[in-house]
């Protein structure tokens, strides 16, 4: 053995052999990754199909083929599309390539699901890791369909969710990165609704699908149009069998936005920001959803959209010197108090004394966001109305509060 290590050629051969062995094993790793995804998709289908097959009240299946009857046109959303089929079936196709077949209550699962993940109605015991969607469940009167929460009670601002957690109808089941798989399995989770954060944790999606739990990744945050973000309520309406309620909720908010179109542009500028823990100014980007809402309300967001910026980030960070240059003359400043809580103008000046030199401060036009906009994405119209009220100096506001009026 010792002589072996005296021979350089034999050492090299050992290294080469070992490297080859490792590469062959890594090929198994590559196959394993994709294998687990496709296997888990089939598992999700099989769970649904087995459920259908096990139900003695259903007739023995004739072949159900999917025939397209219509492709629904979205008013604003671009990240999903809904297709209707004969027999009341529908599918949701998300821009990330994932497709979901929504099977009506009591209907057979088609033999050929065209690779789609099957979601059989009625759906209950949902694991909601995408807390931004809870407002939509509340709007649809379907909070009881959610059994597992991805955040704890204190992190909810929606009172239906808080009440449900207090009563025990909704339980915390681990966050998106580390869900409690055992509880989800034993209590029969039927659907996991995740947000795009889970794209950083593909192993979580694979694990859930491997356990037979379909995963819907909500890409509403990628919608450029705020009404497109809200239009995702139609996806949840379809899944929950509450399509009429979803359409009504969407139409109501759209009506608010449409009514403001006639007012025209006020010419006033707005900037939204907060101060991060390391002292940087985190400012909402031009072209972001909030910036669009400002324009819909008749204002102008101080930062313009960068045509070359393909990033999906909605914020940009500045040092105060640069921030003053770009936003110091904004007519209105909205401070995100849901991320960095402030109660007064002094609190903001404590963060950085240079804020006192901003035009918005001098004119007394500093506002705070009181409720998390991301947990109220079903109220786009209300938020736009709030911004409009802020700009025109009239009307009550729901989500915004003016500082300095006390």
């Amino acid at each position: 053995m010792l002589r072996f290590f005296n021979n350089r050629r034999k050492i090299n051969n050992l290294i080469i052999t070992w490297t080859l062995l490792t590469c062959i094993s890594l090929c198994g790793c590559t196959g394993g990754g994709s294998f687990s995804v496709s296997e888990s998709e089939n598992t999700a289908e099989n769970v649904s199909q087995d459920t259908a097959a096990a139900d003695p009240t259903e007739e023995s299946s004739e072949t159900v083929a999917l025939q397209v009857t219509a492709v629904r046109e979205n008013a604003a959303a671009t990240e999903f599309s809904i297709t209707d089929y004969e027999g009341g079936y529908s599918s949701v196709e998300v821009s990330d390539g994932r497709k979901y077949l929504i099977v009506p209550e009591g209907a057979e699962v088609p033999e050929d699901t065209m690779g789609m993940t099957v979601i059989k109605r009625p759906v209950s015991n949902i694991y909601l890791a995408n807390s931004a969607a809870m407002c939509e469940f509340a709007e649809l009167g379907a909070v009881d369909a959610v059994r597992f929460s991805g955040i704890e009670k204190d992190d909810w601002t929606i009172y239906e969710a808080v009440n449900a957690m207090e009563s025990g109808e909704l339980i915390f089941c681990g966050n998106y990165g580390a869900p409690d798989y055992e509880t989800l399995t034993v209590e029969g989770c039927q659907l996991a609704v995740e947000n795009t954060m889970v794209t950083h944790k593909p192993e979580v999606v694979e694990k859930l699908e491997g356990l037979g739990i379909p995963v819907l990744i909500d890409r509403a945050s990628y919608e450029n149009d705020p009404m497109g973000r809200m239009e995702w309520i139609k996806v949840y309406g379809l899944i929950l069998g509450k399509e009429e309620e979803a359409q009504t909720a969407f139409d109501e908010q759209k009506a608010i936005v449409d009514a403001l179109e006639d007012y025209g542009n006020t010419g006033l500028t707005v900037v939204a920001c907060y101060v991060s823990a390391n002292g940087q100014i985190v400012c909402t980007k031009g072209g972001s959803s909030f910036a669009r809402m400002t324009e819909m309300a008749g204002g102008n967001y101080i930062l313009t959209a960068d045509e070359d910026d393909d990033s999906v980030k909605s914020t940009v960070k500045y040092g105060m010197e640069e921030f003053m240059t770009v936003a110091g003359e904004a007519d209105f400043l909205i401070y995100d108090s849901t991320i960095d809580h402030v109660d007064s103008l002094d609190d903001i000046i404590d963060r950085n004394a240079m804020f006192a030199n901003f035009k918005a401060f001098e004119d007394g036009n500093v506002w705070i966001m009181e409720s998390s906009l991301y947990q109220n994405s079903n109220e786009v119209g209300t938020i736009v109305s709030d911004i409009h009220s802020m700009l025109t100096g009239g009307g009550e506001t729901v989500h915004l509060k003016k500082l300095g009026d006390d």
Binding site: M1, L2, R3, F4, F5, N6, N7, R8, I11, L14, I15, W18, L21, T22, S25, L26, G28, C29, T30, G32, G33, S34, F35, S36, D96, F172, C173, G174, N175, G177, A178, P179, D180, Y181, E182, T183, T185, V186, G188, T196, M197, T199, H200, K201, P202, E203, V204, E206, K207, G210, L211, G212, Y222, D310, S311, V312, K313, S314, T315, K317
Partner: protein, 318 residues
């Protein structure tokens, strides 16, 4: 130590957030919990602990320094660096990270750090200087990571932070099988080297006199150590302290330095320690899962300090 490992493994499979009677016939859900959730996690935690312990032992032998370990030497930092690069650029462009991409990114980063250390090892003859150089490699990787994080969106930062804490929560077959095979290959390679390592521990001159190619052996020790920690990092993220604490503890407990005896002990002890920490991480505040590195540091660091204090006291008494 084998009994300890079996006991901890049994607890890992038997205990969880849901009560399952493993001595009774299992329902479909119970089977899924045992075989699809707990067993892959138990297996991955055990082999990862074994790999980290052996990896740490190799580095400590190479550098003749008890603080050397994959975490200290920048191997985990390298993996983190390439992981953040992958996360930032792939997701920022609207794409999705896949498990395979994460594994490849971690692997590439860990091996990049290894390559830098290897290059340095050919130029730097002093082991203590080389150790410092390895730590500097880690700092460079960390600096690059922080630079990229500056421009990353908040979701990527949060996800990276979560990944960097380490954990086995999403362990699943067949990915776990792949990790097991890779780690077994690595450990088998280390086992083959146990005799020359034993000679090397007596001194380089002594080893050379026995016909050991010392430079070749050093090269292999670094490669195998990095490979083992790279595999663990790829599948579970950076896991701290196992590579430092377990070799220290095992050497003190069994009072043996022969690699042929020490390596199996390290495998068993590393597996048991990591399994124990994983049990604590997932059950202590269930359903909230603690980060694995928090638990390993919480249990590992006091052990190391205690042993070092005992060692210092012993030396002073002499």
């Amino acid at each position: 130590m084998f009994v300890l490992l079996m006991t901890v493994a049994f607890i890992s499979v038997a205990a969880g957030s849901v009560s399952v009677n493993i001595f009774a016939p299992l329902s479909d859900n119970d089977s899924m919990i045992i075989f699809d959730i707990r067993m892959p996690r138990t297996l991955l935690a055990a082999v990862s602990g074994a790999a980290l312990a052996v990896s740490g032992y190799l580095l400590q032998t190479f550098f003749r320094n008890p603080i050397a370990g994959p975490y200290v030497m920048g191997i985990s930092s390298g993996a983190k660096m390439t992981m953040v690069l992958a996360m930032t650029f792939v997701v920022a462009s609207g794409g999705s990270m896949t498990s395979v991409l994460k594994i490849i990114a971690s692997f590439a980063g860990a091996l990049l750090s290894t390559f830098l250390i290897l290059v340095l090892s050919f130029r730097v003859k002093s082991m203590s200087v080389l150790l410092v150089a390895g730590i500097m490699v880690g700092y460079i990787c960390t600096a690059v990571t922080e630079f990229v994080v500056t421009f990353a969106d908040d979701t990527s930062i949060i996800s990276l932070h979560g990944w960097a804490q380490g954990g086995f929560s999403s362990a699943a077959f067949p990915g776990t099988y792949t990790a097991v095979v890779l780690i077994l290959i690595g450990i088998a390679g280390v086992f083959i080297m146990s005799k020359p390592i034993g000679a090397y521990m007596q001194g380089e001159k002594y080893a050379e006199s026995l016909g050991v190619n010392v430079r070749g052996l050093q090269l292999l020790m670094i490669i195998f150590s990095s490979f083992l920690s790279a595999v663990v990092t790829a599948y579970a993220g950076p896991v701290s302290f196992v590579g430092i604490a377990v070799p220290f503890l095992v050497k003190k407990l069994i009072k043996q330095s022969k690699p042929i005896i020490l390596i199996p002990a390290l495998i068993l002890a590393g597996a048991a320690f990591t399994l124990f920490c994983d049990i604590v991480a997932r059950l202590m505040f269930s359903p909230i899962e603690l980060s694995l590195s928090t638990v390993t540091a919480f249990f590992g660091a006091p052990v190391v300090l205690f042993i070092m204090a005992g060692r210092k006291r012993g030396q002073r008494d002499e």
